[in-house]
């Protein structure tokens, strides 16, 4: 099975979020970047498991600048066979999807696996776009995926429950929690990753249809109001009269 796993990098959750002076750009100074957890823990690991069970290859793709190579190498250390980086700033979901699709359509992949969303911009957009460009079925938010021959059975999260679907390869799937268990790269993996191919490809021309024009921080929360544990009527009263929520 030939598998393509899309990985992106995101600021660590605990990162301090700040912007440049005119609030038009995210300030990356001092920010630690990690592989997007959904891509690393679920998409990539499930791809590796499928390869281990049935043979084939796992290729990582990232659309980003050279600074992303650290995160890509980590993916190779976890076990991917090779990687490709499309050398461009990822400024919109559609640009990213276009680049991934352009690469994928040459490679006759059986599956394109993504994370369910990037934890910085929370777009959950790229997967459906890639699927549309490739004219492939798309199954989003997979929590479990079994493959027999060229048919996959996928459990997916829906509002208040789950759905089980069947789909034939080739297809695009996005991975949510449950799809696999996180793997920590070991020393051997890290050493081997240094020798694995990381190909850099120039992007195809494509105009970003959207752009972030400014950022703001949410207004600060006022201090917590503590309520006497012996007086829960008071809490209910506050929720009713002050917060006007019930």
């Amino acid at each position: 099975m030939k598998l393509l796993v899309c990985v992106t990098q995101t600021p660590e959750t605990t990162a301090n979020i700040s912007f440049n002076a005119d609030n038009t750009e995210f300030n990356t100074a001092g920010v630690n970047f990690i592989m997007n957890p959904y891509d690393e823990w679920y998409a990539l690991v499930r791809a590796l498991e499928l390869k281990e069970a049935a043979g084939g290859s796992v290729t990582i793709i990232n659309v980003g600048p050279a600074a992303n190579d650290t995160v890509i190498r980590k993916g190779l250390a976890i076990g991917a066979d090779d990687a490709v980086r499309i050398n461009a700033e990822p400024k919109s979901a559609m640009f990213v999807a276009k680049q991934i699709a352009e690469y994928a359509k040459e490679g006759s992949f059986d599956m394109v696996i993504l994370g369910k969303e990037s934890i910085d911009y929370n777009g959950a957009s790229v997967g459906a776009m890639v699927a549309e460009y490739l004219d492939m079925p798309f199954v989003s938010f997979g929590t479990k995926m079994e493959v027999a021959g060229n048919t996959a059975t996928i459990n997916r999260d829906i509002e208040g429950g789950e759905e089980v679907v069947e789909v034939a390869t080739p297809f695009v799937v996005s991975a949510a929690k449950g799809m696999a268990e996180q793997r920590i790269p070991n020393m051997r993996g890290i050493m081997m990753a240094k020798r694995k191919p990381l190909n850099v490809v120039e992007p195809v021309a494509f105009d970003d249809p959207t752009a972030v024009v400014n950022y703001t921080l949410p207004s600060a929360k006022s201090a917590v109001k503590m309520v006497d544990p012996e007086d829960m009527d008071e809490l209910v009263r506050l929720l009713h009269e002050e917060a006007k929520i019930i």
């Binding site: 959750t13 979020i17 912007f19 957890p37 959904y38 979901a93 559609m94 929370n122 777009g123 959950a124 957009s125 997967g127 459906a128 776009m129 699927a131 549309e132 460009y133 079925p137 989003s140 938010f141 929590t143 059975t153 999260d157 829906i158 509002e159 208040g160 429950g161 789950e162 759905e163 089980v164 679907v165 789909v167 034939a168 297809f171 929690k177 970003d208 249809p209 959207t210 752009a211 972030v212 024009v213 400014n214 950022y215 703001t216 949410p218 929360k221 006022s222 917590v224 503590m226 309520v227 544990p229 012996e230 829960m232 009527d233 809490l235 209910v236 929720l239 009713h240 917060a243 929520i245």
Partner: protein, 319 residues
């Protein structure tokens, strides 16, 4: 024209469909345009979408019981082209998220997912959404002629601004589904988490699954949906779909009770957009208190039953 896809799972509209249409009407007003609602397949009383601001309701005939993003997107995109949709709106739901990207590509449209503001249209079409797990707000400009937006749940309440309208039907030509739905399991009777306005959530402070009775009773009395922290779902105390936070469901209810949850940043990432947060924790240093509007520092096993009693009294006095 603003075209809103109104989801009708099992032939029924949920609150989210009314939210989307109400929002569509606001977007249409901002642009000086009209709002049309699109329904796929059978739906009970589609004309009621007129009440929420659709001046026209269009129903595509066909079998749409099972969801395949390819089939649905084809029908919606064709309708958008035929009817002249300039802004296409879907919910930021599992269905809407699977459609947004396809619609964007099909319609050569820029898209913004999870929006929570009414766009401004003077000097470019601009709309906002929360980013960095609610730690910031980004304003996007959409530069294309056609735009696709998904609306974050609970951002705008459904607003009645009109009355029922006649439903026009169109024949939809759709490709055959390539995704086959084998089984659907949803908890009936309760509002699904992403749509819930009131949420009672509990964490490891509960000590064990056998103690959840007090949480369920409180949720029942309040009319809330239950949720939990991640470790609680991981160890199997609670079903996986209840897990909220960065790796679980992100929610923004009007009221969020956090009971025996410490308030780790990854948990907060999924709940800090809630309008009002009440924290019950016995540790005065629990980080959650910093994100809370109201706090009760006490043993949850004492305080939760008391709170339930207080709500019962309140309900009795206000019914």
């Amino acid at each position: 024209m603003v075209l809103v896809y109104a989801e009708s799972p099992k032939g029924q509209f949920k609150k989210s469909a009314f939210e989307a249409v109400s929002y569509g009407k606001m977007v249409a007003d901002a642009m000086g345009k009209s709002c049309t609602a699109l329904v796929l397949g059978n739906a009970e009383n589609a004309g009621q979408l007129g009440k929420y601001g659709a001046s026209k309701v269009v129903q595509a005939n066909g079998a749409f019981e099972n969801f395949d993003s390819q089939v649905f997107a084809e029908v919606i995109a064709n309708a958008a082209k035929e009817l002249g949709g300039e802004v296409i709106i879907v919910n930021h739901s599992s269905t809407g998220k699977s459609l947004l990207g396809r619609l964007a590509v099909k319609l050569n449209a820029g898209s913004v997912s999870g929006v929570n503001s009414v766009p401004t249209v003077d000097g470019g079409f601009k709309v906002k959404k929360n980013v960095f797990s609610g730690k910031a707000i980004a304003e996007y400009e959409v530069k294309t002629a056609v735009k696709v937006l998904s609306l974050m749940g609970n951002s705008f309440p459904p607003a009645e601004s009109g009355s029922d309208v006649a439903v026009e039907s169109i024949d939809a030509t759709a490709p055959a589904a390539r995704v086959t739905v084998k089984n659907v399991q949803t908890v009936d009777g309760t509002v699904p988490l992403p749509e819930a306005e009131l949420v009672v959530s509990a964490g490891r402070g509960m000590k064990g699954p056998e103690n959840w009775g007090i949480i369920e009773e409180l949720a029942d009395v309040v009319g809330a949906t239950t949720a939990c922290s991640r470790p609680v779902a991981d160890i199997g105390w609670r079903p996986h779909h209840e897990h909220v936070g960065q790796t679980g469901v992100a929610i923004r209810p009007n009221l969020y009770f956090a009971i025996g949850i410490s308030g780790a940043i990854q948990h907060l990432a999924g709940v800090n957009s809630s309008k009002v947060i009440v924290v019950i924790n016995k540790d005065p240093e629990a980080p959650f208190f910093k994100a809370a509007d109201y706090g009760v520092c006490a043993d949850l096993f004492d305080v939760v039953p008391k709170l339930t009693e207080a709500f019962k009294k309140f309900n009795a006095a206000n019914s």
